[in-house]
């Protein structure tokens, strides 16, 4: 790709990313570009490697080959210090919320603030409570443990934890999975609000087309380890791509074969 010097490098640039687990080829030369401030939604069937993609970018899984650039800086093969630096820009909302169950809710939310030791505990707690209020949670929740609150509340706490330090890039892995439609819509709105307020770049994974249209500027479809379609969220009904049509309409017959 030509890069002219005046142009800002894309926020995230992934080219030809490959990852296999044994004989199972999950990512097979994936390309994806996300520019600054853009919100991209990735859709695709279960087990197509959406979570693996995010984990590769985060350095939690080592890809076999390909390139991952954040702000034009190559991550693969860089020194640990540079990678750690790039990682501080990224934050992730996990599919399973992944709250620390040995810590009360507020310490979960303030985790990064406490790690960085910029604030006293009391200060950090106040900031955590503010952030909890921003995702619609009461102050009383702050001292409970994650196991004592419902799944939907856990998702909100995880969202608060992911945005409290104002990251430049946020990944949302199925933020609405397992929530009722009203709650899903609340979470979607919160995501949109957080992303807009922070001016952050976002990648959201979802199976839920309502959610995809709500949070995404652009939608990309992952199938057999590659992005097979990529376009504006508005026009996805008219994509004329048989894979996308089958997916968004939830039809069992079409080009996507489900192995049973």
């Amino acid at each position: 790709m030509m890069m002219n010097p005046q142009q800002i490098p894309s926020k995230i640039l992934i080219s030809n990313l490959k990852k296999s687990f044994g004989s199972k080829h999950v990512l097979r030369g994936l390309n994806l570009e996300v520019s600054k401030g853009e919100s991209v939604v990735i859709i695709g069937g279960s087990g197509t490697g959406k979570s693996v993609l995010l984990k590769c970018i985060l350095g939690l899984i080592k890809p076999d080959s390909g390139s991952i650039k954040i702000d034009g800086q190559e991550l693969r093969g860089s020194s640990r210090k540079l990678i750690a630096q790039a990682m501080t820009k990224i934050s992730m909302l996990f599919q399973s919320s992944a709250l620390f169950d040995s810590l009360p809710v507020w310490e979960n939310v303030a985790f990064l603030l406490l790690q960085r030791r910029q604030y006293k505990r009391q200060q950090a707690k106040e900031m955590a409570i503010q952030q909890l209020a921003a995702v619609g949670l009461n102050e009383r929740v702050a001292d409970l443990f994650p196991s004592e609150i419902s799944g939907g509340m856990q998702r909100r706490v995880a969202l608060a934890r992911a945005v409290i330090h104002k990251p430049e890039i946020i990944f949302f892995d199925e933020p609405t999975a397992g929530l009722d439609p009203i709650f899903s819509s609340v979470i979607n709105s919160l995501i949109v609000k957080c992303v807009k307020e922070l001016g952050a770049t976002a990648i959201t994974i979802t199976h839920d087309m309502v959610s995809a249209r709500h949070v995404g500027d652009r939608i990309a479809m992952l199938h057999e380890g590659k992005i097979i379609w990529d376009g504006p969220a508005k026009g996805i009904e008219h994509s004329k791509n048989p894979y996308v049509d089958q997916f968004i309409n939830g039809q069992s017959d079409g080009p996507i074969k489900i192995e049973v």
Binding site: G59, M87, A98, L99, F100, F111, Q115, R117
Partner: protein, 257 residues
């Protein structure tokens, strides 16, 4: 026949691979643990968990072991009228062998299992991944505090076990077997040498490190949901217990040969 050889070969290779992986894991934990940032809260929590909350179990074990030692030695030694050496037998057995080994096994059951289960659950529920995305190294945050606690708290527990164990022997000897209390304590004290206690404490440190390392290792590499965590817990306890017994023999051979 061939399949048998192949099987043994595979087992041996597996063993080597695991040992290597465990070595790398331990090395990582030590290197990362020595470099800042440190997590005093995590360390304190582990020190209390291992040191304080293990006291009842270890204390009870030591008490009854000391008591049964005195009782059993009496029935044996009275056959050749050597009852007078009971205090020596009790104090030596407790400080050199039974104190460290029994405390080690009890803590392996208690804390090795807890560590494997906690870290394993954190692994399968993506909490370890979340930790990494929050710029926190799990080796520094989770594993090093546990290793520090194992290394320092086991000697402390063994010291307490030594005292309680000798006290158990004293109780049975004076109340049941008719020993003179003053003489019993004198004999115990005179007979005891520094090396007896020190060797026991060194053993305890080694056992503590091995319990924490194996607990964390099995938890950290567990996969596959609840079942995986269950397997990790079992493996942590079994491997730590085995290693404690093997290490104990080796260290005794080094100290007292």
């Amino acid at each position: 026949m061939l399949t048998l050889i192949a099987k043994i070969g595979r087992l041996f290779l597996n063993f080597l691979a695991t040992t290597g992986k465990l070595g790398v894991f331990t090395g990582m934990a030590i290197i990362e643990g020595l470099r800042p940032p440190y997590y005093p809260r995590q360390i304190a929590r582990q020190l209390i968990d291992i040191g304080y909350y293990s006291l009842p179990v270890v204390g009870m074990t030591a008490l009854f072991t000391g008591m049964v030692l005195a009782l059993q030695s009496y029935t044996g030694f009275s056959r050749f009228s050597a009852e007078s050496s009971i205090p020596n037998v009790v104090v030596l057995s407790i400080t050199r062998e039974l104190g460290p080994v029994l405390a080690g096994l009890m803590v392996a059951g208690r804390m090795g299992a807890a560590m494997a289960a906690e870290i394993g659950t954190m692994r399968v529920t993506e909490q370890i991944d979340a930790l990494m995305t929050l710029s926190t190294n799990p080796f520094k945050y989770l594993i090093a505090p546990r290793m520090i606690a194992g290394l320092t708290m086991l000697p402390f527990l063994v010291l307490i076990a030594d005292i309680i164990g000798v006290f158990g022997g004293y109780l049975v000897s004076t109340y049941k077997l008719g020993f003179n209390p003053i003489n019993y304590l004198h004999q115990t004290w005179d007979f005891l040498e520094v090396i007896d206690v020190v060797s026991g404490l060194v053993k305890a440190s080694a056992f503590g490190l091995c319990i924490s390392t194996l607990g964390c290792y099995h938890g950290y590499y567990s996969r596959g949901g609840a079942q995986g965590v269950g397997t990790a817990t079992t493996n942590a306890v079994v491997s730590a217990s085995m290693l404690i017994l093997i290490l104990n023999y080796t260290l005794t051979a080094i100290f007292f040969s």
